[in-house]
Amino acid sequence: MKWQSILSDCCGAAAAEHRFRDNVCVTIPAKSLHRVLSRLKNDAGFDMLIDITAVDYLDYPDAADRFGVIYCLLDTNSGQRLIIRVLLNEPELELATAVDLWRGADWMEREVFDMFGIRFAGHPDLRRILMPFEFTSYPLRKDYPLKGRGERHNFEVITRAES
């Protein structure tokens, strides 16, 4: 089955297709995400999840929504690629996990959670992965400054005599 018919089945007119160079990106509503991904995997042959990432559209030109979560899919037999994008807004920063479809989604979702604070319902082990566990902000959000909020500078200084 072709992916176009799967997307029109699951989302109807809500799926917006956008082509740029050789990339095909389809924006779909968040609630139908898991159904679309599982049908794309099982019926349309997109057997590999290349990447999951997120974008904070805070000061992006003409952007209405705050976050976009991007799923890059690949069909290893035909070599076809497809990008699925979901738009999210605060406070509902939650999506269904894709770990039950692709085990490779595990760490990718953990990184998105770590960097953007987007939660994945049903993920087996949703913890921070790159940042320390006690870190409180989400560093790749656009409202987080490049130089940080003083996490590095406010470490307690231990002198040689105290150590």
Binding site: F20, R21, N23, C25, D47, M48, L49, I50, D51, T53, V55, D56, Y60, P61, D62, I70, C72, T76, G79, R81, I83, W102, R103, G104, A105, D106, W107, M108, E111, M115, R128, I129, L130, M131, P132, P139, L140, L146
Partner: protein, 410 residues
Amino acid sequence: MPFEVSELPAIDSESGVAEHEYLWKLNFGPQHPATHTTLRLILTLDGEKVIKAEPDIGYLHSGFEKLAEDLDFNQYVTIVDRMNYLSPLANEISWHHTVEKLLGIELTPRCRYVRTILAELMRLHDHLLNVGTTGLDLGAFTAFLYAFAQREKIYDIAESASGQRFHGSYTRVGGVLFDIDNAWVEKVRDFTKGFRRAHSDIDQLLSRNRIFIDRTRGVGVLTRDDAINYSCTGPVARASGVVRDLRKNEPYLAYADFDFKIICASEGDSYARYQVRMGEMMESLRIIEQAIENIPSGPINVAPEGKAVLPSKPDVFRSIEGLINHFELIMPNRGFDVPVESIYAATESPNGELGFYLVANGTNRAYRARTRPPSYIHFSVFPHMIAGHMLSDIVAVLGSLNIIAAELDR
């Protein structure tokens, strides 16, 4: 003799582990000679058998993706360099491949050939280190010396092209920093002549070495379905029977012009990954040999009238057009003509599919530049591959995955 995984006690990560009081925990890393870089594993062991391995990463996280949002397309190349430091130029080529695809720049034939040669040299560089140090970790010291002698020559070639041995920062949007000269071509020719011999030396030292085979065959098996399900690419996937190589499937640069094979294996164990890397080195050498004799003449950078590449210094100093072009690109309120779009593009780096998801907002800087790091994705498979093996197999599996912490943590 193939290693057989025996039946394991069913263990639940929540409740089960506490019941088995004979299990013990071992901390591996973050500083350990066999990790080569900084990564940590928390191992749950039954005697010497690994029941569960929990990776703990982030020790080398330095916010590369955040920095990408503050540096322009040419400046960020210095950061990309430092991701996978075993193949720095391959990362640069991948990054500028994405940027050029976004801007719609068509490279000159000469530049495509030069970049292809450099990318393949970097593949040799990466695989030599990987094969050498895997042998080193498993007790075969000599192969390591042969591999490193060849790597030194690749450093020299990189140095005479870019002026820097390691982190060349050689590519630019629409071209490269300096054109190559005849001395460089001669250097690459010399290297290709000597490499076959060194490759055969390494091959003879390891490929039929009883100890090396016993330590790697049947260890860390990844089936084809698992390789696809866990998003593996590159040599790791090809050793499991996934016949996929972006150089063939989505030809970029000049790869369509050359005759080479995709090296695959079906066993999916550490030895198969070693064999795939050894085979790929020979194919890379063939590509280099074909490319170095056929480098097209002509300019290496795209024409400066396209306002994408910096004009040469004599042009800047001696002509008003050159000065204007230079000014247009350098001043912070000018720069490239960038569409408000996002794009994903990938190349076949030595470690697997290295892709960038680049979101552009019409300025010189990336709004978001996500790296798809093959090391990160391959390391997430590690707990699955090591479960049921012995403690000493960890170095064999880690070595065969080629985890580079700078790329893992970015």
